[in-house]
Symmetry: none
Subunit: 337 residues, 2 copies
C-alpha cells in the first residue's frame, strides 16, 4: 500500500526560510471523509502568500499548524470518494497542501476542472488560475476596454501584467507596458506583443512622465496598476479624460516603511478619472466563465502564460525558494506526479 | 468715463497667497467684442478652485495669465452689447473675473438668468450655482445613495459640504460630517441636520480614525471628499466594502508645497472601494434640471444654503483668504456692485 509523502512545516521561519524549517515525511494514506474525497495531487502552486501562512500571524487564513503539510493550491485526480459530485478519476482544483494525497471536502475554491480544454492541467494554476483570472476580470470586467483605447500596464513583465497586456491586445487596445530593465522590456515586445515598452530604471520622475507622454500623446484611457508609488504617479500625470485605473496591486509599497501613496491625487479630479480597488476573490463564482475564455485564447495561440515547472515533492524547498531569488520566469509550479 | 478696476495676479503664489501676489489696477473700460457684450459684475464667486488656477499647472482650465484679472464666476448686468440674445440690462451669469466690467462672448457657462425668481442674484452663485449643483449631482448622480447608507462629508460646514449633508438626509442616508472647530460642528447638527459631527481639530490621526469608527461602526458607504490629506486618510481607514468616494475637492492640499496625497491607497484595494474624480463642469447641460430640484427642496424648507457676502473689489484678497482660514460660514461671495 502506497504511503503519502508530505512536505511539512517543522518550525516557523525567521526571515528567509531555511531547509531545517521543513521535512519530507511519510504518512499513512488518508481516509476518505464523509461526503468528501481523497485527491492525488499532480501540480501545486508556489506563491509568496505561502510564506505568510508560515508565520504565526492572523490573516485571511489561519497559520499553517506546525507538523502539518504546507498549504497550497493544487490540481489532481480524485482517488477515492464519498461524494458523487467528485467521482473517482475526476480532475479537481482546491486549496490542499504540498503532499501526494490530500483530503478534501466540498466548499471554498474546491471544484471540478475540465483538463481536456488545456495543454496541461497545470494551466489551472496559471492562465486559468488566480494569475490569469486576475488579469482577465480586472481588464475585461472592471476596465471594460473599447477598441482603440490606450491601455498602460505597470509591472508589465510579471505574470499578471504580461497577461493583461496580451488580453488588451486581443480586446483591441493599444498597449503600453512599464517594466524594470532592458531584458524585461525586450520580452514585452517580443514575447507578449506590447506596442510600447518603457523601462522605468534609470529614469527620473520627469523622464518617466515624458516617456509615457510620448507613448500616449492623447493620454492613457486605462491603467492596470500593479506597482504604485512613483511609477503610478508618473502615469497619473498622463491620464486621458475619464480614464479608468484598475488598482490591482501596489508592490512598490508593501515593504516600504514610508508609504508614497498617490501624491498627485488632484489629477484624478482634473481628469475625472476613476480608481477601482480590485481583488480577484470577489470573482470566485465567475472563475469557470473566465477560465473558459482564457483557455479559448490560449488554444487559438493568442495568449501565452509562462510557467516555471519544478519537479518532485523532494525538491519542494529549493523550488519554493525560487520565488525569493527571482530565478523563476513565469508562474512557479511544483509537479508532484 | 468710468474706469475698470481689476484684481490682477502679479505672480504665482508659493503656498498660501500673500497680498503681494496681487494688485488692484485701474484699466480702461473694455470694448464690446463682435457678437459679445460687456457685463457690469455685481457678485463674484470666491472658490478654492481659483487657488489652483493661480499655479502654473495644467488643469481643466489653463493657468490665469500673470497680469490678468483673477478668473471668477460672476453675475451681473449687460452694460453694452453686440448680441441680441444678451440685451443691455439683462442679468447674466458667466466665467468672468474679479473686475468691475468683463468682456463676454456666448458659450461655456455664459447664460441669461431670471433674478425675479430669487431673493438675491447672488443665489445663482450658491444654491442654484456651482456650489449647490456640485452637491446635488455629486451625491445624487455620482454616489447614487441608497436609503440607509452611511454618508460621510468632509469640509461639512462649507457651502458644498453643508448642502451635501442635507441632500443626503433628504435621500435617506445617515450623515456624518467632519469639520474644524466646535462652532462649525454645532452648526452641522443644529442648522443642517447632520446625524453626527466630528471635530478634526485637536485630534491626532489615531483619534480621528477612532472617532469615525465610532460614528460608523459598519463603515462608511459613501464619502463626499472636499478636503483630502490626513482627514481623507482617516476616512479611508473606515470604508465599508465597496465604498464610493466622490472626489470633489482637496482643499487641504492646494496650498501645501509637499502634497500628502493618499498614503493609504492600499485600503482602496482592501475595501474594493471606488474613487470618482468629479467636476461639476461635466454636468453643465443638466444645470436646469438640478436647479429645479434644488429650488423645490428650498421652497419646501428642507434645504438651506448660506452665503457669506463680503463687500468691495478692494477687499478681494482678505475675502478670498477666508476660504483658507476657515472664517467663512456659507458660500463665499464678493459683492462688487
Amino acid at each position: 500500500m502506497p504511503g503519502n509523502r508530505r512536505f511539512v512545516l517543522l518550525r516557523r521561519p525567521s526571515g528567509v526560510p531555511v531547509p531545517e524549517d521543513f521535512a519530507l515525511v511519510s504518512s499513512d494514506m488518508p481516509k476518505v471523509p464523509q461526503n468528501g474525497f481523497v485527491v492525488r495531487n499532480h501540480f501545486a502552486s508556489l506563491d509568496p502568500a505561502q510564506r505568510g501562512w508560515m508565520d504565526d500571524a492572523e490573516s485571511y487564513l489561519p497559520p499553517i499548524p506546525l507538523g502539518d503539510a504546507v498549504r497550497a493550491t493544487t490540481v489532481g485526480v480524485v482517488q477515492e470518494s464519498d461524494n458523487p459530485a467528485f467521482p473517482v478519476g475526476q480532475w479537481v482544483l482546491g486549496l490542499n497542501a504540498l503532499e501526494d494525497y490530500s483530503v478534501a471536502t466540498p466548499g471554498g475554491f474546491t471544484r471540478c476542472i475540465d483538463v481536456s480544454a488545456v495543454a496541461s492541467p497545470s494551466h489551472y494554476l496559471s492562465a486559468l488560475g488566480a494569475v490569469g483570472l486576475t488579469a482577465y476580470f480586472g481588464l475585461a470586467d472592471v476596465a471594460r476596454p473599447k477598441p482603440g483605447e490606450t491601455l498602460l500596464v505597470s509591472g508589465a513583465a510579471g505574470a499578471v501584467g504580461s497577461a493583461v497586456g496580451q488580453i488588451g491586445k486581443i480586446l483591441g487596445c493599444r498597449v503600453i507596458g512599464i517594466a524594470g530593465g532592458e531584458d524585461k522590456c525586450r520580452r514585452l515586445l517580443a514575447d507578449y506583443g506590447f506596442d510600447v515598452a518603457i523601462d522605468y530604471k534609470g529614469k527620473d520622475h520627469a523622464a518617466l512622465v515624458a516617456a509615457i507622454a510620448q507613448a500616449a500623446p492623447a493620454g492613457v484611457d486605462i491603467v492596470f496598476e500593479n506597482v504604485g508609488g512613483p511609477v503610478m504617479e508618473a502615469t497619473v500625470f498622463n491620464l486621458a479624460l475619464r480614464a479608468r485605473i484598475v488598482l490591482c496591486g501596489l508592490i512598490s509599497e508593501y515593504n516600504a516603511p514610508e508609504k508614497v501613496g498617490l501624491r498627485n491625487l488632484w489629477q484624478i479630479i482634473a481628469r475625472r478619472a476613476t480608481i477601482h480597488g480590485y481583488l480577484i476573490a470577489d470573482y470566485a463564482d465567475r472563475f469557470p466563465q473566465g477560465a473558459t475564455q482564457m483557455a479559448g485564447w490560449m488554444a487559438d495561440g493568442r495568449l501565452r502564460v509562462d510557467e516555471d515547472v519544478q519537479h518532485g515533492l523532494e525538491n519542494a524547498y529549493p523550488a519554493f525558494m525560487r520565488l525569493f531569488t527571482g530565478e523563476n520566469t513565469g508562474k512557479l509550479i511544483l509537479k508532484i506526479a
